[in-house]
Point group: C2
Chain length 352, copies 2
């Protein structure tokens, strides 16, 4: 007599497709978990094979940081990345923006019936590679399947846990007038890479997503300045630089004055935005951060960012001002000044 598992044929990752059985909780679900997820993400915690993962707590005195992010990007594959690595980077970055060291990730997949297993494998492998590169294991997960026409290929919600060192206080409310606004690099590549693919535009110079895990950049930045000098970190994803700065302004109760000429941007992104009729300040980034920094620490902070491979184009783009209406204003290249408002008009959907 043979053990039951011997009766199961291996999944067909060449021509197979997701079917409803893969989400029903029975043998097909177990097979998908075993042959795809557990195999790609393999680590001691996932190997426990229970409904959740038992994990070492953060070091004594540390608090926890928890962040979650749903990923619904369309198309699933784009120049420079895919929904898999994006779902790792996006959530790791949210944890890192709190000033915490990311420790663990969980992943919840919502798959659409009929989705090619080959594409799913590619996405899962991209997630696994991104998690391995970042040094943060995917310790637990869940998979559901919805009928064809009730999903869109793959949605991935990830949750990240991190350790926040004693005494660290960062958040959107901590900026004050006089603080300096830094960005870690050029703005707009992720959104333009996705949108130009969607619009079937081809540019002479290909634009690729900047998707990247920023926690080592954050660690270098925080190590270079006194504790408390970095008031706020935020990654300008949905809604781009403009929206994120407006959020920070609202939270801190300050205004801002930006220098348009100081905002780093690739010429091909500017050109693409012009062609697409988009304002690059509202375009999503997935591998850049905004730092609000005490004025006396700004030079050291900028130097630390520029010394890291992901921060070479870092720049000082403005200051926080005393403004009861907490407007984000911008001195334009042509010597004028305008309000950079929240995103309005047409949204840019399914960008992350």
């Amino acid at each position: 007599m043979t053990a039951k598992k011997d009766y199961v044929r291996p999944l067909d990752f060449k021509t197979g497709r997701v079917d409803m059985n893969h989400g029903a909780g029975g043998r097909a679900s177990a097979q998908l978990i075993r042959e795809l997820f557990a195999s790609a993400f393999d680590n001691e915690f996932l190997r426990q094979g229970d409904d959740g993962a038992a994990l070492p707590a953060p070091p004594p005195g540390h608090r926890l940081v928890m962040a979650t992010d749903g990923h619904v990007i369309s198309p699933l594959f784009f120049p420079g990345g895919d929904i898999g690595c994006l779902s790792v980077h996006g959530t790791l970055n949210d944890v890192a923006m709190m000033g915490a060291q990311p420790l663990y990730l969980s992943a919840s997949f919502i798959l659409e019936e009929g989705f090619p297993l080959a594409d799913l494998k590619r996405i899962v492998q991209s997630m696994a590679a991104a998690a391995a590169e970042a040094g943060v294991p995917i310790v637990t997960g869940d998979t559901k399947v919805v009928e064809q026409g009730h999903g869109d290929g793959v949605f991935i919600s990830t949750t990240g846990l991190g350790a926040l060192p004693p005494g660290r206080q960062m958040g959107g409310a901590r900026g004050r007038p006089g603080d300096v606004v830094l960005v870690s690099g050029t703005m707009g590549e992720h959104g333009v890479a996705v949108l130009s693919l969607r619009e079937s535009l081809e540019f002479e110079t290909a634009i690729t997503s900047d998707t990247a895990a920023l926690h080592t950049l954050v660690a270098d930045l925080l190590a270079a300045v006194p504790e408390g000098a970095v008031r706020t970190l935020r990654d300008p994803t949905r809604g781009g630089l403009a929206t994120t700065l407006n959020e920070i302004a609202a939270q801190s109760g300050a205004g801002m004055l930006l220098q348009e000429a100081a905002i780093p941007m690739l010429p091909q992104v500017e050109a693409a935005c012009e062609l697409l009729g988009l304002d690059p300040l509202y375009i999503a980034n997935e591998g850049k951060l905004i730092a609000i920094v005490a004025p006396e620490a700004a030079d050291a902070a900028l130097a630390a960012l520029r010394a890291h491979p992901l921060g070479r184009q870092a720049a000082r783009i403005g200051v926080l001002t005393d403004d009861p209406h907490h407007f984000v204003q911008m001195a334009t290249r042509f010597g004028g000044q305008r309000v950079v408002d929240w995103l309005s008009g047409e949204p840019l959907p399914r960008i992350c």
Copy 2:
């Protein structure tokens, strides 16, 4: 001059619908978060308003437990509950089944364009009520919107964090021959409630979902027996009792022998399953647990379960056996014996 937020009209929770702007990261997203999620889930952590939540760590010596679960149930509202409370109970229970005390939840929403805001509000309020009743705050979240026809109303992925006391070792692999199999109550109500609604069946006696948070039941159970006597806890959700017992058997390397007559079940569930052509052992539960318990602790464990409002119908349904093929066998009511295999044949999709 008036502050910018004064220009925004409140959301129309009577006739309004989710639109793409609600997921674009701009002012409409901020409004949805403020007027719906932040208002319903309100707690000190969510109020931080950052990309993640900074949280107190578990008590010294405790490990963490992390569990995640995607919820895609159709229909969204069913007798006894809805996707909102289900998404809280499901993940809390996964944390509790690890022997941990649930501390925090995160929630990732994937909304379909056009979904009525009234229904969304009802779901969010149900989540908030479930979280409040369980004493576990929803500390961070995310919302995305997909175009009509690319989602199915609302998907909710929740992640739970819990504190695992020092020395607690529980998991599917710890059962051994001779251990006793307990269930905390009647089987099959959740799945039958959802399926009968879907099939537009009406039964004389309405069947309602058993969806409930089980962490206080688990706490009472664990307090009643020596540490280590409860080998495994598992909630028989997708795939039902039969599938979950097969998982435990496979993990522990033991077989099982169940007594069919001992498995508690409402007569109306049996009748409905007969009508629907379903085996109740494969039907999802959302408020029941399976406990694999050392034989010498079984009586105390059963008494502890029965003393709790959610465990009144608890029963001893079988034992673990020495079986290299780790089959789950069942002595039937009619004196025979059969193998209770993994779910095969038609799946029961979108049940949780």
